[in-house]
Symmetry: C2
Subunit: 425 residues, 2 copies
Amino acid sequence: MVKVGLIGAGTVGSGVIDIYLKNKDLIKEKLGTDIKLSIVCDRNLKKIEYLKNYKIDITDNFKDVINKDVDIVVELIGGITVAKEVIISALEKRKHVVTANKYLLAEFGEEIFSLAREKNAYVGFEASVGGGIPIIKTLRQGLIANNILNIEGILNGTVNFILTKMEENKTFEEALKIAQELGYAEKEPDFDINGIDSAHKIIILTALAYGKWVKMEDILVSGIRDILPLDIQIAEELGYKIKLIAESRIEDGKLGVRVCPTMIPKNNILSSVSDAYNAILVEGDFVGPTLYYGLGAGKNPTASAVWSDICYIAQKLSSGAGKLCEFNNFKNNIPIKHKYDFESEFYIRILAEDKVGVLYKISKVFAEYDISIKMVFQKDIKMEENSVPILIFTHKANYQNIIQAAQEISNFDFVKRKVFICPVE
Amino acid sequence: MVKVGLIGAGTVGSGVIDIYLKNKDLIKEKLGTDIKLSIVCDRNLKKIEYLKNYKIDITDNFKDVINKDVDIVVELIGGITVAKEVIISALEKRKHVVTANKYLLAEFGEEIFSLAREKNAYVGFEASVGGGIPIIKTLRQGLIANNILNIEGILNGTVNFILTKMEENKTFEEALKIAQELGYAEKEPDFDINGIDSAHKIIILTALAYGKWVKMEDILVSGIRDILPLDIQIAEELGYKIKLIAESRIEDGKLGVRVCPTMIPKNNILSSVSDAYNAILVEGDFVGPTLYYGLGAGKNPTASAVWSDICYIAQKLSSGAGKLCEFNNFKNNIPIKHKYDFESEFYIRILAEDKVGVLYKISKVFAEYDISIKMVFQKDIKMEENSVPILIFTHKANYQNIIQAAQEISNFDFVKRKVFICPVE
């Protein structure tokens, strides 16, 4: 029998308990191994008191879990302070670990996996990316024989929900409010909105696919706060959707990693991913393009992923395996591209006074930065401070040049709002 | 070092060799274990002679592979005669087996897995369903903690390619010809066209998801040969696509399994799967709906799946695991629904003489079979024998009643072609 201790009975943690109480017999039958949830830890003991009825011990001190004779410690506290202490001390005691903590892994993954190797312990983190979608196992096992050429994903359900609402003509603020009311967005949604959560996730996928832990400060991270309903509407008219895309790809022998709102053509399957769903496109040199889609967050899907790791470890243990650690050998010295160094077509939205000479001055800046324009048009609607939107689509250009040009244009006194930039696929 | 013997160097087999020659160092690095392809068997020795340059033995007798000191035997012959002998004799010698043979598993899966359990050998069959898409591992591992509620998939790339061409106004015969010219369809494409290949695949997925091996004769299998461009066009006009859907779902506590051309609304993500792609929608009680998409056939994607199994077994072996067999415990006595017993809305296309009283007689039959009609319309185009198409959409009805009604209507002398029926989602 494999024994499990759970630390953190919040949203995902309570889903993990629910699965145990409802499906433990089914799991045993599929796996051929008995798993027992033997102890649960939460700050709020009241909340977990009912577990005594199921002969599950409870505590409010995580050390009780680690010191108990459990085989697997499940960390679902989140954050990078206590959670880190939990995982390190579990590994020190040679316990296997399962976590959903993308923030912690993105920041300290290399250290944690190195300790796991030293202690011959397994660290499962299926729940850290893509909620219930088994994307981690897919990269580690299903596509193992492939050189991964690129990964492109919608990795944050909150953001995708907000963008879907904005397609229904809501402003960003209105959409965020709905997301908060429905429990999709937290009260302090900055990590989601600003693309940081997506960045944590693409860092993890990059480590798996390319054997390289990329630092947060080395990647471009751009959120959705500056998107106007107008941008969504322009995209729609031209056959695109705006999605927050996290990507990691080999470009000229270097690794380019970034998180950016992006215009996706409607014939790209990612454009049909709406609401709180996630989807990840992975292309390998032999398998070709593949896509994985599902609920990217929330109690039950994430708990399903946590259980997939518990079961995987339990099966290893019951098979009599001696070597338990995995995913520690693959290291790659591929250089990382500078975060502003990538080429794309771009969409640029400028809110400017409606007067003679404006387009001339704007075009001059683009010419100076060697940016070739494919299409310019003006919408006859009045925006803030009586400005009108000037909408520009460029030919392929370097992002470095685009942001410099946008900066200069933003500084013109006839421009009424920071210029918005978004790559076009 | 883990040693592999390959039997069958046809399309998929040569892909397996290509991956070995190109990516073996990468695989070693990711896996932490060295894998050697030590022997390849093919009827045509000339074709594999070049492998001697890579220190790979060759033979035209599969027994040489099984008798050699290989750990894993990869069977890529196909069919159910020699392939069965290969797998049984490999298992008898306690070799692990990797196969892409859906036909064999659908017919003899229970027997093969039972022998594997007895011999403590692992049988990998990721390549049998969905080409490069890791759907088998997803059901066995990623979604293990879920009660699977339903599986719905586009499992045959050839058929999906033909249907996509028919959307471009080709007839079935023209589309098939293009598929054959491009190498997507075989010269004798009956297994694909008639839905038999999809049925083999859904039988395998059903065994994994529900613990039950369903017999071919117990499931409804309907192909795409009777679809006219007109049907595709009607679907398009009403916001649908016609796809060959293989499904397996729990309905009133029973298991319903079937393969049938189906009208899928355009907001269902399966409708956007075109060309030779496959996609599988799996819904679990905790994970919710998930989707897996990729190239469902062909040399390289299928070889990628074969390698995922080789690597999985190699890792088990190098971890020192003693218990190697998996997927043998899960058995379920869920009853199977009669193959004609399911409810759906239906699309029915009748080619009839354009004369008074026809609709009256047709409606009378539907009324007698308790089928309620939602919409009837006639297209003003002349089809074979000067007939015109009468197109009917029903409310929810039982398939048993629908086929009986269709049979009666087909017998009317004013009806010029067998009535075509297709469920509407």
